[in-house]
């Protein structure tokens, strides 16, 4: 069956979790492994229903560590793979996320955030995992994390997540909140979607080196040879040379590898970074937010358009890599950033880092499992 046939009518009224599944399938995802956890379980359930119709594979694993392992393994057979979880499971996945970074394995991880630490608030929204998404695994690395605010954005950004993961051979994390995951809204299924596939090896067996870059293409991203294709590729999480073999005692190999893994992301920030900006041109105050918190933020900014100050708005759809230059440029022209988020102030620190004292940075940090209200945001604008 064709994916559009399986998904049904072009316009539907569905949950964010389901929209994530739709986006994944449109992007060409054919493998899902997961473990039940509130509020991400609906993604597993929907995948188990739809994947077999599309000749895909669904696996319910014994835990989130295994789920992450399975999607990495399946990615090496050439499939586009997805797993979905929430805070506690996301914590368990961190080691294997680092493995996917080190072995440059494309895969997408959805974290439908709930209140933490620990078991916390399983049924309440939070944005407490944004730093874990960036720094959760050990060692130096860069990763991509996208953050949707609406059910439609969840669908669109999931497609984008797969495309970026394939292009840059890096795990991409979709950070939703319980509220976006469980909220129902009208969506429109996009047609004629651009589907990116990882760069496959196109060279004779003797010349192929699984982690050599700059040979066939000018990029810092190596070409991919799936298992079973005859290239006899050895993949390890140990520091490895271009041939893929362990070279863990080499200062040169390790520094070159770690730098390349970061640079392939940071040097392409213009391609990766996307944010939804409004009223920025004459802004004196800018409200910066992401995810569900961006919605009351935009409402507040709209209400404030009649006030004395010009108020602008940024929805950071791409949380990681953090675009320092973008924030720095804006900070030169404005008086104040208001950072609205549902944690004790996480991206607030990143914004401050980019602003370097050029303007005020005021946090609006809401915890407890509620979404900030436009009213409390307006209080800070005044």
């Amino acid at each position: 069956m064709d994916v559009y046939e399986v998904l049904g009518p072009e316009e539907q009224f569905i949950q964010g979790d389901k929209a994530c599944v739709y986006g994944a399938l449109i992007a060409g995802c054919s493998f899902f492994a997961g473990y039940p956890i509130t509020p991400a379980t609906e993604i597993s359930e929907e995948m188990s229903k739809l994947l077999p119709k599309l000749n895909g594979v669904f696996l319910q694993m014994e835990d989130e560590i295994a789920s992450m392992g399975a999607i990495i393994g399946a990615s090496w057979t050439g499939r586009k793979t997805l797993t979905a979880t929430s805070g506690p499971g996301f914590s368990l996945m961190q080691e294997n996320i680092g493995y996917a970074v080190m072995t440059e394995t494309p895969c997408v991880i959805v974290d439908v955030q709930r209140g933490g630490p620990s078991t916390g608030q399983p049924t309440m929204p939070s944005q407490g995992d944004v730093m874990q998404a960036r720094y959760g695994s050990h060692g130096d690395y860069e990763i991509i994390a996208l953050c949707p605010s609406t059910v439609q954005e969840t669908l669109d950004l999931t497609i984008r997540a797969f495309n970026l993961s394939e292009k840059y051979r890096v795990p991409v994390i979709i950070l939703m909140e319980e509220s976006v995951g469980h909220m129902r809204e009208k969506i429109k299924i996009p047609q004629n979607v651009l589907e990116v596939k990882r760069d496959m090896v196109d060279i004779s067996y003797d010349y192929y080196k699984p982690f050599r870059t700059g040979y066939m293409h000018a990029t810092k991203i190596p070409e991919f040879a799936p298992f079973g294709s005859g290239y006899k590729t050895f993949i390890t999480g140990l520091t490895h040379n271009e041939d893929g073999f362990p070279a863990s005692n080499s200062v040169k190999t390790h520094s070159e590898l770690v730098k390349r893994l970061s640079e392939k992301i940071t040097e392409n920030i213009d391609d990766i970074f996307y944010s939804d900006c409004k009223y920025l041109e004459y802004a004196e105050i800018v409200v910066i937010s992401y995810g569900i918190a961006a919605r009351p933020s935009l409402a507040a900014v709209k209400m404030a358009q009649q006030s004395e100050k010009n108020v602008g708005f940024i929805n950071l759809n791409t949380l990681w890599p953090f675009n320092y230059e973008f924030i720095t440029e804006i900070s030169r022209k404005i008086e104040k950033f208001i950072v609205v988020e549902m944690n004790m102030g996480m991206m607030y620190h990143k914004v401050r880092e980019a602003v370097e004292g050029r303007c005020d940075v005021v946090p609006l940090s809401v915890v407890g499992g509620r979404v900030p209200t436009p009213k409390e945001i307006i209080e800070l604008i005044k």
Binding site: V57, I65, S67, A70, I71, I72, G73, F234, L238
Partner: protein, 268 residues
């Protein structure tokens, strides 16, 4: 029978030699036996993937001229499950150790068996964490000295094969490094069985384990294995010896086969 030189030429990565294995280590015998089993079956090595976790056992796949995935500690069966489910045409072999398989990876071990996905899991049991210098593992017998049981071990060890049998593995065999011909036969059987096959090999860690437990030369380790094991066919019900041989053969349906049927049914 294929010669050792031919094995090296045909299957091993010369650039990875010498191996990291110590003198007297039994792991080389397991690698050799695995390659002989593959050769005798006439398997296409390009359609095989060798997966491993972390530890001395898990370095074996780096020496084989084939696709290989050296994963995180304990998780090899989970990664291998993804590979097999992702492309059922591939033959997936897992090398693991006692710590990797039954310590940190215990959950994946029993669930891999429960799921009955077609993997051939070869567990090299050397009774300790050799790579990190000889700490007690889940299979360390009682009254043994290791670097973390300095006054003798007293926790009850796991019997890996019994675990695999209880979890329902359709094929379970146990041999020692002193039984290479039988081991080759069992690996062949394991590769042919459509389902989760578990082959435990009692191997040696002269550097980290036996040295601290009164056997200081390799020959004596072989002798110890010969004297302290008994084939399941000859074993009496109550025996102090380690029971070796083909321990379990069950007829069970395999995961990719069953999933394939579901796909066929619903994708019409």
């Amino acid at each position: 029978m294929i010669s050792n030189d031919e094995i090296v030429q045909k299957y091993l990565r010369r650039n990875m030699m010498p191996t990291i294995l110590c003198a007297g280590c039994g792991n080389g015998i397991v690698l050799n036996s695995t390659l002989r089993a593959i050769d005798e079956l006439g398997k296409d090595i390009e359609k095989m993937v060798f997966v491993s976790g972390i530890g001395c056992s898990s370095r074996l796949n780096s020496y084989i001229k084939a696709d290989g995935l050296h994963t995180t500690h304990g998780r090899s069966i989970a990664f291998a499950t993804g590979i097999k489910a992702g492309n059922p045409e591939l033959d997936v072999v897992v090398f693991t150790g006692d710590g990797d398989c039954a310590g940190i990876g215990g959950n994946h071990f029993i669930h891999g068996i429960r799921r009955n996905i077609d993997l051939t899991v070869i567990a090299l049991n050397n009774y300790n964490y050799g790579m990190t210098g000889g700490q007690a593992s889940p299979t360390t017998p009682n009254e043994c000295y290791t670097t973390t049981t300095q006054y003798e071990s007293f926790e009850y060890p796991f019997d890996l094969s019994k675990l695999a049998m209880a979890a329902g593995a359709p094929y379970v065999a146990r041999w020692t490094m002193a039984h290479p011909l039988q081991l080759i036969k069992s690996i062949k059987r394991g590769l042919e069985v459509k389902g989760f096959s578990f082959i435990e090999v009692l191997t040696s860690c002269p550097t980290s384990f036996w040295r601290r437990n009164k056997i200081r030369d390799t020959e004596s380790i072989y002798k110890w294995y010969k004297e302290n094991t008994v084939n399941v066919k000859k074993a009496e019900k109550e025996t102090d010896k380690i029971v070796i041989g083909e321990l379990q053969m069950l007829d069970k349906r395999e995961w990719t086969e069953q999933w394939g049927e579901i796909v066929k049914r619903v994708s019409k």
